[in-house]
């Protein structure tokens, strides 16, 4: 028995009619997840698989802080339910995770990371969900367009600006080179060097997927670059620095602070290569013996051991996530209403609020809806970071307006 094309078409039309009838059961768009009782749902979308999987330590650190808050009684008696999903650093999957968090889990706040986090910002703001982004992108300072989205990481422009000011002062005759990823890191680095009054002689960009940067290193060496700023992804940093050592190219090298990690960067490099590396830090390195007796770091390590569920306390990214969650909880505790507007008002009013592991000690709301503006230029001596100059405030020094 067969079905003709005509009868197939008739069937399809019938089905469409059924659909139209069922359409009476349609729904309209809803906005704003808020509740006055029960759990406070916080969502998260991070790369837990793929090349960016090490970033998932941020989510583990945040989860540990929320667990600690719950163990201590929650926020005004309400527990935080943290639901984080893997996006594999794929913006499409991040968009799906956001809808899962907003539409299904009814999240009132959402943690995001990197470029996928920027992609989902419009949806979070349309639905009035408070968004804390682990991103150094200058774009994340657009609180006029996206009032509910705030970056936890400071603006990378400030970090490179602080480095540029230091280089301009300490190495005024240096030939400066920049090697960055070809994404917003490159834009922020260019803006930071400009703000810091230094014009790089060579600026090179590579795609995030490129592992072999030998050609770029050779170009920098041939150009006579003697002060280098490296803002690559964590997987690219080690092979690039190792190759530089192999060919005997040892410029004064500054590395992007987010990639600093004993496990994934300093230990694989060995002191022979890592000694002499520089950075502008805004967060303590929990693996550094220098901060071993710091009460904030000690408390953090104890909390990670108790609530971390396998997270490494020595991982700077775990501390990063932990401290970002602490900032969100500070806003939640100060909020008059447990919704995006309440969190937003409270976040924008945070002043002298302590945060674990923060260089400069306290959080203060400032330009671009961010909270962190203070940096310490440091140099690695083979086992520990040593200060080079005083703590710099990017707002006071005019780098961020």
């Amino acid at each position: 028995m067969t079905i003709t094309r005509r009868s197939a078409l008739a069937s399809l039309l019938s089905v469409t009619l059924v659909g139209a009838l069922v359409g009476a059961c349609g729904r309209t768009d809803e906005t704003a997840n808020a509740s006055s009782s029960g759990e406070i749902v916080v969502g998260g979308s991070f790369p837990m698989s793929g090349p960016y999987a090490p970033i998932s330590a941020v989510s583990k650190g945040a989860a540990a802080y929320f667990a600690k808050v719950n163990a201590e009684g929650g926020i005004n008696g309400r527990k935080i339910k943290y639901e984080a999903y893997d996006d594999g650093y794929d913006p499409g999957r991040a968009a799906a995770n956001i809808r899962r968090g907003v539409d299904q889990d009814k999240a009132q706040a959402f943690l995001t990371f990197g470029v996928p986090g920027e992609v989902v910002r419009p949806y979070l703001n349309q639905n009035k969900v408070f968004n804390v982004a682990y991103s150094g992108s200058t774009q994340m300072s657009q609180v006029d367009q996206f009032p509910y989205s705030h970056a936890w990481w400071p603006d990378l422009t400030a970090e490179t600006g602080v480095i540029a000011q230091y280089v301009g002062k300490e190495f005024p005759a240096a030939k400066v080179g920049v090697l960055t990823l070809n994404n917003d890191l490159a834009d922020a680095a260019a803006a930071g060097f400009k703000a810091g009054g230094v014009t790089p002689a060579v600026s090179l960009k590579v795609p995030p997927s490129q592992q072999d940067n030998t050609a770029q290193v050779a170009q920098l060496k041939a150009a006579g670059v003697d002060v280098l700023y490296l803002a690559l992804g964590a997987p690219q940093m080690v092979p690039t620095l190792k190759y530089m050592a192999q060919i005997g190219y040892r410029p004064k090298t500054f590395v992007y602070s987010i990639t600093i990690n004993h496990t994934s960067l300093l230990d694989p490099l060995t002191p022979a290569i890592s000694k002499g590396l520089n950075a502008a830090l805004w967060l303590d390195d929990p693996a550094d013996p220098r901060w071993a007796n710091d009460p904030g770091i000690q408390a953090y390590k104890k909390d990670i051991a108790t609530y971390g569920e396998g997270a490494s306390a020595d991982d700077m990214l775990a501390l990063n996530g932990f401290a970002g969650a602490a900032a969100l909880v500070s806003a939640m505790k100060a909020a008059k209403t447990q919704d995006a507007d309440g969190y937003n008002t409270a976040w924008n009013a945070l002043k002298d609020v302590p945060a674990p592991g923060l260089i400069g000690g306290t959080l203060n709301a400032g330009p671009g809806g961010r909270l962190v503006y203070r940096y310490q230029v440091v140099e690695f001596d083979g086992s520990s970071w040593q200060n080079r100059g005083p703590v710099q405030d990017a707002v006071q020094s005019g780098l961020i307006k």
Binding site: T2, T4, V15, C25, M48, D86, A96, P122
Partner: protein
């Protein structure tokens, strides 16, 4: 009523059942699941475009994510920069993708197989840096947000429901069009082009014109899917169109069934849902280690157990278990 216009009953019923499920689904699941379905339908268009190009005409493309991205960016630019309504932008983006497909098809006039695959892969590798390079137009590395598609006044549907139904209707139209075109004379010409291009030319098939047109049509369909996908996600960003997307689409087409329209749907399910299902199953702490391993093992199992794709496996099982469900084929097929 001709023989070519007949469809085996079991197959038709399966398609009808799928259509009912697809139409009713947005009314019974939440907006997150509806959004996932919209990702599925738009991805299915891209996979179907590969079925047409690689499965039917035998021209391998390892860079179809580029056309997906071209469609997405063309639509985004036309909506955000030119202020065009989204339906107009989608139509124009499809035309742009058609032209891109024609250009990309030029090498196919001289080369085939792995060499053509490598050239198309270059397109996929080139697109993200090209997009970043023209940041004034494209938004650079952080891309462009797109406004949400609003439900027209008078229709009681959420934005997600409405837009999913639009993508479903477009997908249905694309599949019907492809199935119709690939049946009959054009289908036989494509099969000849795929299996014996020299003999096809000898027999009067305009192989050069056909190769180019198929590339153009395939690019247009992938671009159409990309444009609608960008509207569903509400943004375009270079990281969404890396070469890994092209490989995922090709993988989806092979897993689903490289010569099957139903396989395009199955392939899209593989691309859209499998990574999430694996991540959810293995848990956050293990995801970084096991997601790729599980994905690879599943892929190997499918290729080993169902070399003609999951759609082919389903057809074989149906032919064995359902009397009268033996399928007819209107095009000569060389099983490989």
């Amino acid at each position: 009523m001709t023989t070519m216009a007949t469809i085996p009953r079991a197959k038709a019923l399966a398609w009808a059942a799928m259509a009912v499920v697809a139409i009713v689904a947005p009314y019974v699941v939440d907006d997150y699941q509806v959004f996932q379905l919209a990702r599925l339908t738009t991805t299915a268009m891209a996979v179907a475009s590969l079925v047409l190009l690689t499965g039917w005409s035998g021209q391998v493309s390892a860079g179809h994510g580029a056309f997906f991205g071209v469609g997405a960016y063309a639509a985004a630019i036309l909506i955000v920069k030119a202020g065009l309504p989204w339906p107009v932008a989608v139509v124009l983006a499809t035309l742009v993708s058609f032209l891109a497909g024609l250009l990309a098809g030029l090498p196919a006039l001289r080369i085939r197989g792995i060499s053509l695959a490598l050239i198309t892969l270059v397109l996929a590798v080139l697109l993200p840096p090209l997009v970043v390079r023209f940041d004034g137009l494209t938004g650079g590395s952080t891309g462009m947000p797109l406004p949400p598609v609003r439900t027209p006044a008078g229709i009681q549907l959420s934005g997600a429901q409405f837009f999913y139904l639009v993508t479903l209707a477009v997908l249905a139209a694309v599949l019907v069009l492809l199935a119709t075109v690939c049946r009959g004379r054009t289908g036989r010409s494509l099969a000849a082009l795929r299996d014996q291009p020299v003999m096809a030319a000898t027999a009067g098939v305009p192989t050069a014109k056909l190769s180019l047109l198929v590339f153009g049509a395939s690019g247009a369909i992938a671009g159409l899917g990309g444009a609608l996908n960008a509207l569903a996600i509400q943004s375009v960003v270079p990281d969404s169109y890396t070469f890994t997307v092209s490989l995922a689409l090709l993988t989806g087409a092979v897993v689903g069934g490289i010569r099957s329209w139903a396989g395009a749907l199955i392939g899209a399910v593989f691309v859209v849902y499998l990574p999430q299902v694996i991540s959810d199953s293995v848990g956050d702490s293990l995801a970084s280690h096991w997601t790729q391993v599980v994905y690879a093992v599943l892929l190997l199992l499918v290729l080993y157990l169902a070399p003609q794709g999951l759609a082919g496996l389903g057809t074989r099982l149906a032919a064995v278990r359902i009397p009268g469900a033996r399928l007819t084929s209107t095009t000569p097929r060389r099983q490989s």
